[in-house]
């Protein structure tokens, strides 16, 4: 039986179809989830894809966080279900307090779209087990509200607990504190990051690299072995 990975569509979500494709390329079944449905259709994991849900009006992720589907996802995430938030999905996760901190306008105030080098700081999460600790990867980055911020105390705690999952290399693209590109919750099942692994799963498309595929094969491995 193949693993079922849910991909949520909020109004204004953009990368849902790409994320479904990435899930399929990795060999799992992609299950579309609709923001108004509380029912997660027995999926084994959930991805909150990128985009501008509700236009990013008010704050990125602020309105989506209150959708019916998030009620169940918050509950399930706390119970250990793997959840990945990419870009806008990461913003939804911080607004939902599943992950600490907040996202601010990039320090240079512009939308930035580029191929971004990252270091995978830890393979000890549901979404990074297929990478080596310290492995360097390049995947697309594209956002305007990507500056990660949190209180010093929270940052220290994240570092101490090994919950900084990705760090920007070769230049911080948005002013994120401590070059943080992605973090996890304490249990390691909930991961959020700004760059887009789903855009780096096919050699021909985008940057021509497949460095993002490991996210999806990682969760698949975990689900199959579970």
């Amino acid at each position: 039986m193949t693993a079922r990975v849910g991909v949520v569509t909020f109004p204004g979500t953009l990368d849902d179809r790409d994320t479904q494709r990435a899930v399929r390329v990795a060999g799992a079944e992609a299950v579309p989830l609709w923001h108004r449905d509380k029912d997660l259709q027995q999926v084994d994991a959930v991805v909150l894809p990128g985009g501008f849900s509700y236009g990013d009006y008010l704050r990125a992720g602020a309105i989506s966080r209150f959708s019916p589907v998030m009620e169940t996802i918050i509950e399930q995430a706390k119970a250990g279900m793997p959840v990945l938030g990419i870009c806008n999905g990461f913003q939804v996760l911080t607004e939902s307090h599943l992950l600490p901190g907040a996202m601010l306008r990039n320090d240079h105030l512009h939308f930035v779209c580029r191929d971004q080098k990252l270091r995978v700081e830890t393979s000890a999460t549901a979404w990074t087990s297929q990478y080596a600790d310290g492995q360097e990867i390049s995947i697309p980055l594209k956002n305007i509200d990507g500056r990660y911020t949190a209180a010093e105390r929270v940052l220290d705690e994240l570092e101490a607990e090994g919950r900084v999952v990705f760090r920007y290399l070769d230049g911080n693209p948005n002013g994120s504190l401590r070059d943080i590109a992605g973090i996890s919750n304490a249990a390691g099942n909930v991961v959020g990051l700004m760059p887009h692994p789903e855009h780096a799963v096919e050699p021909l498309i985008g940057t021509g690299r497949t460095d993002g595929l490991g996210f999806f094969t990682s969760v698949l491995k975990k689900l199959v072995s579970a």
Partner: protein
């Protein structure tokens, strides 16, 4: 001017009874004979609402009254082709790209609003063209944005450029449409008239093509999307007042605020409606709003339509009927739906949080009838509004100064005397604002979204995969060169066409069809009208020769400050198809040892060149000669070479000439090049000439023989000019420049200007 709310409602009956009532036709921009013609059509004076409709629909913007006698040639001279499924006249043309797929694309301008409010002007420009594409039944899959600004170092450019760029990005990024290309050009002639052209391309299956027509009496007219507000109402303030002062009221600039989130919902909602085959006809609301949508839908159908204007959802309850008819509120669509499908239609809209309202129905008759609080305020033959607008044969004449301009030969400009000077001019060229890297702009656009982007800026063309199974794809490039067109508008238009064609072919795709945006000054100036006539003639002749029909486009006139018009700026978008995107040809030189070939003939051609601008601030002489048969041959060679794996990089030569192209390919690939000036050419001409019909390619040594044999057999000059090697560009016997130095010059300019 405030609206007089208690003003008497001008019904059709009232209009018939008060033939002598004065009307503000002049203030609304109508000419006396146009007003007389409206009275003749109706057999009475128009009501206020009718006058509103005619005045916007008969405006230059909507009726093409100055340009249509010239645009006719695009139909008359159209090349024979099976590729065109829907031609000029619909929201956008549709091209058959094989495997059951059809592609629709169109380019439009949003120049004037973008100067007044750069962010919103550009944003709503993107929004408008996306709805045109959607209305054809297609899923929009990419956008492009050819932009032109005043001098790079002018203080106002700092306001206009960042605003426009973030508007294009803010809207397109939020919609989830990859931006795969465009242009950024600086020239003082665009100082008070920046050009914001926007292109959208969409994909559908043949059977999904939808047309803007209202037929089938009893079918419902559904308005859906955003509520209607009081924004962007051109001349309505005139109508709303009873008295007019001598000078006439000032025209309020028609600036609207876009809501890309609403548009994203509109796209998804509309695509779901298409999937369930719920519409009989559909039209987007753009310029002239409901006036345009209702009259065009009715006119293209059986004619009869009845609309209850009270039912239109409003953002502002105080709007008058005239204002509702003329409002250009964004993010709205109008659909014709069979009665038994209405319920499902509304349910899908509800799912996507899109407001949808039945505002009327198709009727047996042939009149467009609009009611307000039960009273009839419009009763017109829709065709007379939508299609029978005035046509002008405006006088045109070759300007007096044209001869002097052409006589001012750029070939006589002082050329670099030493190798050191040559080197210096190369650096100056690749670092000049027009030739510098545009990454500062394009990095603000999402080029990855939708996961089908094969090539995007700075590649020669943008390429999108449209079928994941077969890897079928399309490529598009847009080009225009106002300097060339100023020197000779006929040739300039053909050079724009040739360049876009060459760009598409360089990436390995076969050019199929074009769309164009014609940006010119005032049609009331005979010199401008001559430029327009020459450019359209050049384009039509060029398309016939290249076999690429014009599928649609847009005209933007009155781009001028005082008496000074912009350079005539025809912008051409060429669409090509590639049956397997795996064999696309990128521009990067990335394999050391591969041979660099220059294809085509290099002549001493510097009129309008980047070199003449950058080094001498000069514009004069004749633009490069055009040979479209040669362009076609070059295209065929580039496509064959890509299909047979004979080349692994290609880059077309255009502004800046060979040295610019080689620099870009080297920087993109991270490798240098050793170049040798071919026999018969001097180094200066070799590096800077802008002869058309040329490209550079990288050929693996193993393929060299096969490649040169092919070129020889087909009669295309191919000169081996060097090899990919090292980390500098070295021109033998002249100079060498490290890539780092080139990169600093090329990439540092725009950020420094805008910092």
């Amino acid at each position: 001017m405030t609206l007089d709310a208690v003003r008497h409602l001008d019904t059709v009956t009232h209009a018939a009874e008060t033939p002598e009532a004065g009307q503000p036709w002049k203030e609304l921009g109508l000419k006396e004979d146009e007003y007389a013609r409206i009275r003749e059509i109706l057999g009475r004076r128009p009501t206020g609402a009718e006058l509103a409709m005619y005045s916007v629909m008969w405006s230059e913007h909507c009726s093409y009254k100055s340009s249509k006698v010239h645009l006719k040639q695009f139909g008359e001279k159209a090349p024979q082709t099976d590729a065109l499924l829907v031609g000029i006249g619909e929201n956008a043309g549709v091209v058959d790209v094989g495997q059951g797929y059809a592609v629709t694309f169109k380019i439009e301008s949003h120049n004037h609003p973008s100067y007044i409010e750069p962010y919103q002007g550009a944003a709503t420009g993107v929004g408008g063209i996306v709805r045109d594409i959607l209305a054809m039944g297609a899923r929009p899959v990419a956008v492009m944005d050819p932009l032109r600004f005043g001098a790079a170092d002018h203080p106002d450019t700092r306001r206009v450029l960042p605003g426009i760029v973030s508007g294009v990005g803010g809207y397109g990024n939020c919609l989830g449409l990859p931006n795969i290309g465009g242009e950024v050009v600086f020239d003082p002639c665009y100082q008070g008239n920046p050009l914001v052209n926007a292109l959208c391309v969409g994909v559908m299956k043949h059977e999904d093509i939808h047309l803007a027509q209202a037929s089938g009496p009893g079918n419902k007219v559904i308005l859906y999307g955003a509520r209607t507000g009081g924004d962007g109402i051109g001349g309505v303030s005139v109508l709303a007042s009873e008295t007019f002062d001598a000078t006439g009221p000032s025209r309020r600039p028609a600036v609207q605020v876009g809501d890309p989130f609403q548009e994203k919902l509109l796209i998804e909602c509309t695509l779901e409606i298409f999937r369930e085959q719920l519409v009989a006809g559909i039209q987007d609301l753009g310029g002239a709003g409901l006036s345009c949508a209702t009259s065009e839908l009715a006119s293209a159908g059986s004619g009869g339509m009845r609309v209850e204007l009270d039912t239109v959802p409003l953002r502002d309850a105080t709007l008058s009927p005239e204002e509702i008819l003329m409002s250009e509120s964004q993010e709205r669509m109008c659909a014709i739906v069979e009665p038994d499908k209405v319920e499902r239609f509304l349910a899908i809209c509800e799912k996507w949080d899109v407001i949808a309202t039945v505002i009327g129905e198709v009727t047996e008759g042939s009149q467009l009838e609009i009611f307000w609080h039960g009273e009839q305020i419009v009763d017109v033959p829709p065709r007379s509004v939508a299609h029978d607008g005035p046509t002008y044969h405006r006088p045109y004449a070759r300007p007096q100064w044209q001869d002097a301009l052409q006589a001012d030969d750029a070939g006589k400009l002082p050329r670099p005397g030493t190798s050191a000077e040559l080197r210096e001019q190369v650096l100056k060229l690749v670092g000049s604002p027009n030739q510098a890297s545009k990454a500062w702009v394009t990095d603000q656009y999402d080029r990855f979204v939708q996961g089908n982007t094969v090539l995007a800026q700075p590649e020669d063309s943008g390429m999108i995969r449209i079928d994941e199974e077969t890897d079928l794809g399309v490529a598009i490039a847009t080009d225009g060169n106002g300097r060339f067109a100023k020197l000779d508008p006929y040739t300039g238009a053909q050079l724009a066409l040739a360049e876009a064609y060459r760009n598409v072919a360089a990436s390995g795709a076969k050019p199929l069809a074009i769309s164009d945006c014609l940006n010119f000054g005032s049609p009331e100036d005979p010199a401008v009208m001559w430029q327009f006539a020459e450019a359209t003639r050049g384009l039509a002749d060029g398309c016939l020769q290249l076999g690429t029909p014009v599928t649609g486009g847009n005209v933007s006139l009155y781009n001028q400050t005082g008496d000074v018009a912009i350079h005539p700026t025809p912008v051409v978008a060429v669409l090509g198809v590639i049956d397997d995107v795996n064999r696309r040809t990128p521009m990067a030189f990335k394999d050391e040892g591969h041979l660099i070939y220059l294809l085509g003939d290099t002549r001493e051609e510097f009129g309008g060149s980047a070199w003449s601008q950058v080094v001498h601030d000069h514009l004069g002489g004749l633009p490069p000669a055009v040979d479209l048969d040669r362009e076609r041959l070059l295209g065929e060679i580039l496509i064959s070479a890509s299909r047979d794996g004979m080349i692994d990089a290609a880059h077309d030569l255009s502004d800046g000439g060979l040295v610019q192209a080689v620099t870009e390919s080297c920087l993109r690939g991270g490798h240098g090049a050793r170049l040798v000036v071919p026999d018969g050419l001097d180094a200066f001409t070799f590096l800077f000439s802008e002869s058309a019909g040329r490209a550079v390619v990288a050929v693996p040594r193993s393929e060299e023989l096969r490649f040169t044999d092919m070129c020889g057999a087909r009669g295309l000059p191919a000169a081996r000019i060097g090899v990919i090697d090292g980390d500098e560009i070295d021109v033998q016997g002249e100079f060498s420049i490290p890539l780092g130095e080139l990169r600093a010059a090329h990439e540092g300019t725009i950020p420094a200007l805008l910092a």
